[in-house]
Amino acid sequence: MRLSLDEGRRDVKLTLTDEQTMLAESVARLVADQAGQTPSAGSFEADFDRQKWQQIAELGWLGAAVTEAAGGFGGARDMAVVLEKAAPSALAAQLAPTFIGLTILEAAGGAETLVADVISGEAIACGVLSDMASALDVAQNNGQMRLSGRFQAVPMGDVADIYVLALPEVTLCLSADTPGLERQEIRGMDGGARADLVLSDLGITPEMILSQGDRAQTVLKRARLVHAAALTAECSGLAARLFDLTLDYVKQREQFGQPIARFQALQHRLADMFIGLEELRSLALAAARAAEDSTPPDRRLSQAVTGSVDRALHIAKEAIQLHGGVGMTDDMPLGAGLRRIKALQIMPGGAETHRRALLAATG
């Protein structure tokens, strides 16, 4: 298991390091503090705030997805820790594309200054991978690569300074003002502003290219692993929050002369939610470990993603149901949780993309 018995030292693989535990606690604290400030817990208007972002950057958290060698302090596992704890807030949806952007930059290599600028909060990066695109087309025209395609409802898409793209043939870094790149701001189902990114016959110049060929393939695989780890971590943190709220609620809500937590039918459903949550944590851990070890993405990675989202959805729906009327109001973060999990399911590159891949593969 996690220890090499003859040495007696902890070779921590499943549990967190002390540093990771401290990191988790400080993220959780900030999120809890901020939760008090927002106008309504389930609000739709959780837009990006550059000042708050700077504050996050100063805490150093943006370095969680990047190794020390590349100027950060962590790796996939540390990133998962941050996202899990940030999950109850709109912050998670902003951190995830940043982390993926940084992962791609690091994996492609040669962008040290840019990585430092993103970690420090000076530049805002938004990472996407080809799995998130629709109608993606890379054409060669007179020796120049030209790119078309669409990324729907990208968080941070509306505010990013640079877009980092992991595609099968090439890894790209595009500044927001690149000709042929258009962003249309929209409000997302999961709250806050997003952007549809539309690439129309965008001409790739050499300085946009971070890597090509086999290296680009490796970068894409790495991005897939980290994306899966990020998505499952967020599911896990969000479901945990929804479950905890529900558990608290049923213990204090009285009906028919006693806390509704006493009703055995509800107890059994809460037990099933609890088991679902434990399993979701396990799947998120499996995905984080895969990213940590750079295990090539396989069936099981996709199963970890779909299994996590399925369980999170179940928990979110039960949370609303067991809250009764209160569960239907946006005073509680339950609806916001359901909307975010549903977004993680249907977004391109999300759970449905993984599910389709699983069903297409013979197995």
């Binding site: 997302g188 189902m189 028919f256 009764g324 009327g325 109001t329 249907i346």
Partner: protein, 394 residues
């Protein structure tokens, strides 16, 4: 598969179908079909059309302005109109308080209130739930104290759908705090324009405003607004709860939503996708089972042998199926469901052709449809009722 409707019923169905096809305004129909929230004016416009035809309160006795519809006709009317995309016929006046008034009310109450319902001039809402009395309605604490010719009402009601649009509320209030919880409750009609009434909006998880909390601060209610006897309100409330019966399955609505699902899937080339087919097949099978269960229960209602718990079975399954269809439609929409803006949805309802808004309507409905498994006695409460009354388990 034909349940064996009588020729009269078949004729009536055709009549309702034709009427709806000719008279349901296209913009309202489109809003309903795409799941976008309706405004007060949308409801009223359609209900005015029905009132004109004399079909607002079809199942009421003729002498009160109804058509003496059989339960089968009520069922057919609901199925045909909702399936065609008509708005939900708001039940608060027609299905809820109206029958209570003509069954238990005084002649003066009948004369005062029934015409306004039949003519669709008075907008009613329902004041049952309270912050501390949801499933356990008998614990309600809104007080009504007798003072001369009036009652003075203090307290609040919550989850009051459309109270911000309503003229009147019928409410359960506590008139005797010293007896067993169910014994001291009265059924009262309250004019929402009375001094001391205030309405706080509650925004739902889909971002829309249809729920409210209604506060009563020393509200004077004339004693003649009491229905029946003081402290017997529980009896009238139970009468009301059993009244919807076979309508609660909402077969027509589910069929309409399945049609939209089919269209959404077809537009995305999913009709031949195996996992889509599997999913739709399950939904269709569940609906088929529910439809025939409804018909069997309707049959029992018509010959007087209905056991009384049929509404629980139909409500539980109907709400679950509609919820499942609504969610799966979002899944079929896929990434096109990611854009969602409740403010835009409310403001820009004039262009029924706008695809983005239609998609947002689907998202809105998915979120809103978490409610029916909670309201009207949560599905957990319905299981309790079935266990107790159908299975006779302690």
């Amino acid at each position: 598969m034909d349940a064996g409707w009588s020729q009269d019923d078949i004729d009536f169905r055709q009549q309702v179908r034709d009427f709806t096809a000719q008279n349901l305004p296209v913009d309202i129909r489109d809003k309903v079909i795409s799941g976008r929230p309706l405004q007060r004016a949308d409801h009223m416009r359609w209900q005015d059309i029905l009132a004109q035809k004399g079909w607002i309160a079809g199942f009421w006795p003729q002498k009160y302005g109804g058509c003496d519809w059989t339960p089968a006709q009520s069922y057919i009317f609901q199925e045909e109109t909702t399936r065609a995309g008509a708005p939900w016929l708001l039940p608060f006046g027609v299905n809820y308080v109206g029958p209570v008034i003509y069954t238990y009310g005084t002649e003066a109450q009948k004369a005062q209130h029934l015409p306004g319902i039949v003519s669709n001039e008075v907008f009613w809402c329902q004041g049952y739930s309270e912050p501390n009395a949801g499933s356990d309605l008998a614990r309600l604490s809104t007080r009504a104290e007798r003072d001369g010719d009036s009652y003075v009402v203090n307290g609040s009601k919550i989850w009051t759908s459309m109270a911000h649009w309503a003229d009147w509320i019928f409410a359960l209030v506590r008139t005797d705090p010293d007896v067993k919880p169910q014994r001291g409750i009265s059924f009262m009609l309250i004019d929402l324009n009375s001094p001391g009434v205030s309405v706080r909006p509650i925004r739902s998880i889909e971002g829309a405003h249809h729920l409210n909390q209604v506060f009563f601060d020393n509200v004077r209610v004339p004693a003649e607004n009491l229905i029946g006897q003081e402290n017997k309100g529980w009896t009238y409330a139970k009468f009301l709860l059993g009244h919807e019966r076979v309508l609660s399955a909402e077969i027509g609505k589910a069929k309409r939503m399945l049609e939209r699902l089919r269209g959404t899937a077809e537009a995305r080339g999913l009709l031949d996708d195996a996992s889509h087919r599997q999913r739709v097949n399950t939904l269709e099978t569940d609906l088929l089972a529910l439809e025939w269960t409804t018909l069997r229960m309707l049959d029992a209602v018509m010959d007087g042998s209905a056991p009384g718990f049929e509404a629980s079975v139909l409500k539980l399954r109907g709400s679950t199926i509609v919820q499942a269809i609504a969610e799966y439609t979002v899944d079929v929409l896929g990434p096109d469901a990611l854009a969602f803006d409740p403010a835009r949805l409310e403001a820009e309802t004039n262009d029924p052709a706008a695809e983005a808004l239609r998609n947002m309507g689907i998202v809105s409905e998915f979120l809103f449809q978490r409610a029916p498994t909670i309201w009207g006695g949560s599905n957990e409460i319905q299981r309790n009722i079935i266990a107790k009354h159908a299975l006779e388990l302690g």
